[in-house]
Structure formats: structure tokens, C-alpha cells
Symmetry: C2
Subunit: 344 residues, 2 copies
Amino acid sequence: MKRTEIASLGEFGLIDHLTKNIELKNTSSEKGVGDDAAVLSYANKKTLVTTDLLLEGIHFDLMYVPLKHLGYKSAVVNFSDIYAMNGQPKQITVSLGISKRFSVEDLELFYEGLSLACQEYGVDLVGGDTSSSLTGMAISVTCIGEGEEGKIVYRNGAKETDLICISGDLGAAFMGLQLLEREKAVYSGETDFQPDFTGKEYLLERQLKPEARKDIVKFLSEEGIVPTSMIDVSDGLSSELKHICKQSKVGCHIYEERIPIDYQTAMMAEQFNMNVSTVALNGGEDYELLFTVPLYLHDKVSKIKGVHVIGHITKEGLGLVMETRDGTEIELKAQGWDSIGEEK
Amino acid sequence: MKRTEIASLGEFGLIDHLTKNIELKNTSSEKGVGDDAAVLSYANKKTLVTTDLLLEGIHFDLMYVPLKHLGYKSAVVNFSDIYAMNGQPKQITVSLGISKRFSVEDLELFYEGLSLACQEYGVDLVGGDTSSSLTGMAISVTCIGEGEEGKIVYRNGAKETDLICISGDLGAAFMGLQLLEREKAVYSGETDFQPDFTGKEYLLERQLKPEARKDIVKFLSEEGIVPTSMIDVSDGLSSELKHICKQSKVGCHIYEERIPIDYQTAMMAEQFNMNVSTVALNGGEDYELLFTVPLYLHDKVSKIKGVHVIGHITKEGLGLVMETRDGTEIELKAQGWDSIGEEK
């Protein structure tokens, strides 16, 4: 494969090269890459801003994450935060820190993934820069989105008796990661890393190419539903429930049997000797939407494709409770992927 | 000194701890730290967005940069980009990647610097997160600002015969860096790193605690001047002139003798056997404003404190020219600090 050294283009040449085909499509994007700042126009809307810093070895492993997928995922996980506010992502900026081992072609792949995500979600790339890094790759993404007055959904609005809803299914991305880590260990040292993932495609896709739930935000809007609280599941269901309950000053009661889990996730957890509910509660990186709606919306929300009602909100003093399959009530503990607490 | 391990607080505990005293002051800041995204209200204004990724060993050296200064500088260099659009910075988000060698107290110092900068420039900290890093420290800052319709200044509006103006003086931050690097080499291995910097305070201040030119933007506004183009000097005067000329499709003619240089910068360059004009043209990190105004504004712009007229804009074909003290015309080459091209 062709390898063009980054030094041959220089910093400004590199950015020009990577961003030359970018067209701005959103009316709120007035000026993109190429000045001291991007210029946006959010005249009658609220502006939503979220940012993420992704570091090699902590948030991703380039041994099994293709750069194109990494570009896609870096963008999508930020879109997910904007949807979690009941908003629409409109612009992103991306800063990269890269070492000499990367070529121009590597970065082209990363930008391909980034552009694909932008295209599929209707987002403009309005800023980007690259600088060198002494060690691993660093990716900083900021996403700007729009929200409508009165329709922005925070984490703090859940009320007693509200229904707790979750989109999609949980735990698959975590099992995908376990699978990749296991194969990496097995194949360590071999140059031809081509394990057989037949029957596990869904797990890999959830880990390597997650999607943000734009569709759920759209369905909610079509049904005229504004959730009372919402958050995206990045650190695991338990952790996100804890955020909602803490900020809303409420408790919750969920049912283990109602937590949506895909067949492949269950199979894989079995193989790894893991409790599949623990995986679903604490795995993280699902990028599903967890939200609450008033009780009277039960029928309306239940008929939205891909949405499951898994429990309800209770009084603050009652804590975070899960009723297991055998009817026992246990307290939910957020063991979510807490990158700093876990650091070795 | 007390050392509290970050693991003792965990990721969410750490962020709560570091951001607990933050108050939002700007009317455009509706919701800050603590949800999936910040919520801003830029109803009748344009939204400006700029972002920077700062990596240890590339953009800063913790051997001689105190963490409080680093926090201050990380914020200020982003404010500078917003001023360079003729805008006002209003919000920032900060993401940190940190290794185990940092304590909670270290991060408190960083946040102290950050908060001080926010206070002095009237900016709200509306988002922040921390995660672990396997190696050095990584800092990602996004700054959001407001611009008024019709008064935003880009890099592409310079016209033939426009005056080229620069605020402050150039090259001091670069000489400060040289000084720190020299002392670091001399004192390498000694535990008590206390060199004598008497008479060089200005150079160190420009390197360690730079300021953004909020005052110049205010003066311009008071005089009713909207520059035809503007950029902040982060990579060196030559490099920034090149950006303006390229995007405005013009050439420029500047006079070496008019480039503002502080006495300490000149003395230090002499000591280091460096050509002081080369330092001023290519040193970078000055965070001064380089801008152009129509010729008829000569008297008005000249009387603004701290602004120097250093030349004028010419036709595109004429290139970037500097007339030296002896009347020779030389072509300006941007040798600015190009972090990737220079990478070793």
C-alpha cells in the first residue's frame, strides 16, 4: 500500500488535503474549516455542545480497530450525546494528535469514516486540525447541535411513576470487545490476524461501528412525546440510571427480565462464563437511549419500534432497585466502565 | 504537599469535585457541566466555535510549566481565536487525559488556572471530563463565542492598499521558551530547579501566561473599526501573513524596522546569537492580533494604544515581501512552528 509521509505535506497542507472535499450542507453552518473559528447561525434554536477526548490504549486499540471505523465511531458517539438531549447534531470539529507511524493514507481512512458518519447523520465537519503526538493517537471531537426551546431533555426531569424506557438492546458492544480482546491475545505474535467471527457479526458491529439513535428521537417527535429525562448509554445501564435518579432526585425499579438482550450477546456471555444481566447493566458503549415518560404514555411509547419499557421511577428514598427473574429485589450498583477508577 | 489519588474519587466524583464551584454568568449559558451536552442560547448572534488539542511533550513541558499556568494558557489561547474573528468568547469545555502520576491536587491547580482565565475574560466553563491516559497529559479545549452579524472578521477580506496592523510586540514568547529550554538542559538532573530569571520576566510571562487581546477588539469596536481581515499570531507573523494573503488572494509588503520587538526579546536574541527579526517573524505563540484596515483609517488605527502599522497589502502576483532595514526586499517564508513538519 502506498505510504505518503505526513511531513511531506506539513500541518497546513495535511489539513487542506484532508478537508478539501468537504461541503457544508446545513443552513446553520456559515463558515467551516479554514479560519480561526467556525461560524454558526443558531438564530431561533438552542445550541447544544458536547465534547469527547479519545486516547489510544484507553478508548481504542488500533490492533483491531480499523481507522475508518474509528473515524466513524468517534463522530457517532458524539452525535449520540446530542440526541440524548432530544436535539439534532449539526456540526463537528475534530482535532487529531498523531505520531510519525501514521501516513497520509491512514488519516485519509480516518477521515473517510468521519465523512461517512457526517453524511449519514446530516452533520457538517466545520473544523479540524492535526498536530504531532509523542506517543499514541489522540482524538478530540466536539459536536454542536440544535435543540428546540421547551423540547430539550435533561437528566433531571424524571418523576415518580414515570416509565423507564430503553431503545435497542444492551451488552452487545461489550461482548464484542471481549471477543476482540480474546482473539488479540490468542493471535498475539501472528502477523495474519484473521479470526473467524461467523455468528458474532452483530457483536463486532456494535463494538466497531455503533450507531446513534437518530430514529428514536424522530419517532418520539412524530408521536409528540417529549421525555421527562433522557441520557445515552455509554457507561452501562446502571451508571446511566444512577445519573438520572441522582439528578432527578428519585429512585427506580426495573425488571431484569425486561432488559433487552440480543441472542448473540447471551450466547457469548455464556461462552465467557459471564452473567448476561451484569453485562447488560454494566457493559457500556451501547449508545442506546435511556429515557423516562409519564405513565399515561405507556401505550404510545410501547408501540415505538425498538423501545422497551423496563420499569418505573419511584420515590427518592427507595433507591435503585432491580427485581430479578426469581422476584428478589436487589440494589443496582453502577460498576460501569469508569476509566479512571479502573486505571492500573 | 497533600496527595489525593484520583482513583479515590472516580471519574464522576473527580469532575463533580473540580467543577462544584462553577457558576454560570453569561446569559447565553443555559446549562453547563452535568448533562450529555451543554445548552447555549445564541438567539440574535452568530456562534463561533474553535478547538485545540494540547499534548504533553509537544505543546507543553511539565518540567517548567506550572499546572496553574497551563490551565490559564489552555483557555486563553482559545479565547484568542475567538477575538481573531472579532468575537467575544463566552463558553469553554475542557477534556483532560491524565495518567496516574497526577493527583487530585494537581488537577485542582490546573482548574484554578482555568477558572482564573474564565473569570478575567468573562467566560463560562460549561463542560468538562477527564479520562485516563497511558502516557502524557492531553488537554482538549473547545471555546464558543458570539459574533455580531456583519462584524465577524475572516482571513479572506484583505484588499490592495489596506494597512497591515499588529498589536503588542513579537518574539518574546519564543525567547521565553528558549530560555526555559536552556535552563532545563543546564539544570538537568538537579532537584532544585531555581534559575535566576531577573530581567527576563517579560519573556517568561509571555511564554507561561500569555493574554488574549480582548482590549484590542474593544478599542476597534469603540473606534467603529471593522478590520477587513484578522488572525491571531500563534505560529509566527510570516505564517499568519501567508494565511491572510492566500485566503484574500493578495500580496503584502512589510517593513522590518516597523516590526514591534520588546527590549528583553532583542537582548535575549543577541545572547542566543539569533537574528531578532527571524525570531519575531517565525517564533510564534505571541497571541497578538494581526489585522488589515482600509488605508483611510490610518490615523484612527495608529492612535490605538499597542497597535503598529507594519506595512500594506499589495496585488496577488507581488508575493509576500519584507523590506529590510537596509532597503533590500526579501521574500517572506513561513518557517513558523509547524509541529508536524518539524517532528523528529
